[in-house]
């Protein structure tokens, strides 16, 4: 028992590691601030592309979404960071993460938005078009506001996943929270910094998970 606490809940080590871990946390938050809006916009683009009149555009969209939802995010990330240099394309860790996340998130958010748009009955589009609004205007002012409201829980759920996904950036040596905590671990031979990082994730995300639960309850009634 004592060794358990010493190895995992060692307050001295945690205190020692705090400065590094704190800096890692900041970078994690910055990464989220970059990656989540990018993913949302990408997802909107994908979902709108899926409503195109041209079959080729729709087909490309479906292939894009299926491909980037099937490939594990870590695989994509490693490919972008370690594989592309062989073809002459070199990215910094931050950019590599952004690129990989943009592709992955656009596919996931895109599916969510697509389901949302499809859930709005055709009558809405018809009414809007019958008053002279263009497809784009009808989408922007009538369909999308309703769709977004309907899929808000799914959007929130996916965003929670995205925040957790940022921990993968540690694999390509981006100095975010997990990377910093792991570095502290290797220096102190003690796993407590990682426990601290886990606690930080818990503190960040648990409230959101709870809010999501309440939102889902409210929307299903």
């Amino acid at each position: 028992m004592e060794t358990l606490i010493h190895q995992f809940f060692n307050l001295d080590v945690m205190l020692q590691a705090w400065p590094i871990v704190w800096r890692g946390l900041i970078l994690t938050l910055l990464l989220c601030l970059a990656v989540i809006p990018l993913g949302l916009i990408g997802g909107l683009v994908v979902a709108l592309a899926n409503t195109s009149r041209h079959r080729a555009v729709r087909w490309v969209t479906v292939v894009f979404v299926d491909f980037f939802r099937a490939i594990p995010p870590l695989v994509l990330l490693i490919f972008v960071k370690e594989g592309l240099p062989f073809a002459g394309i070199r990215f910094s860790p931050f950019v590599a993460v952004c690129v990989a996340f943009l592709l992955n998130n656009s596919a996931y958010y895109g599916e969510i938005f697509r389901a949302g748009i499809e859930s709005i009955g055709t009558g809405q589009m018809e009414a809007a078009r019958s008053t002279g609004l263009s497809s784009f205007q009808a989408m922007t002012y009538v369909i999308l506001p309703q769709a977004a409201r309907n899929v808000l829980p799914d959007l929130l759920s996916n965003t929670i996943e995205v925040v957790k996904l940022t921990s993968l950036a540690s694999v390509v040596a981006f100095h975010e929270l997990l990377y910093s905590a792991d570095m502290a671990r290797s220096v102190t031979y003690n796993a407590s910094p990682i426990v601290m990082a886990a606690a930080i994730y818990l503190i960040m995300l648990l409230p959101v998970v709870r809010i999501l639960g309440r939102l889902e309850n409210r929307m299903s009634t």
Binding site: T3, D66, F67, V75, I78, G83
Partner: protein
Amino acid sequence: MSSWQRFAEAFLDWDVIVQYLPAIGSGLIVTVEIAALVVICGIVLGLVLVVLRSYRITVVNWLIIAFVDTLRSVPPLVLILLLYFGMPNIGINMGGFVVVWLVLTLVLAAFAEEIFWAGLLSVDKGQWQAARSTGLGYTQALIYVVMPQAVRMTIPPLTNRTIAITKNTALGTVIGVAEIMNEATTAVSFSGNASPLFVGALAYVMLFVPVVYLGRWIETRFAWRKN
């Protein structure tokens, strides 16, 4: 050199691919093994947890909720590193394969429990009353009447979540598990060519695209059940 040629040279070197295909093949088997074990154990554990939770014993409830909340909020990679590097220091040597399997099983169990619980709550109260009124005990009503209905409603979100979690088997590469990604990156180091990486990525796609389609098919089959 055109960009297509550069691409082909970097990613489609046939000799390198042939040389390392067996390695990636064995990695594929490991990936499938972990994934299959995670799916079975995770869902079973999730079912057990939800049945326990339905008895509404306060302490048990509290433990389950704490477990579920933690595993839904902490990234799997964090838990994997924690166990892999922390456990040996207190004398427990699990090895990479077991660590990945354990963490992903617990994560899936946590999500599955939540999904099953939501499904359980959405079954009409009348079903309980009808079952109990015919003399069925609590557990019998649960197992024979309520759970079957709850499970049907949970299939779509469950398949989605299961697919997402099994993709995390790739995390094994970080702690040296000999799955696809690990074999692929090792091969890249040895050969100085990125083709194994390309093939590895392709292996994942070939593995999961059918699974995603299967999931979508399952979803549409049960879609009419959703409100």
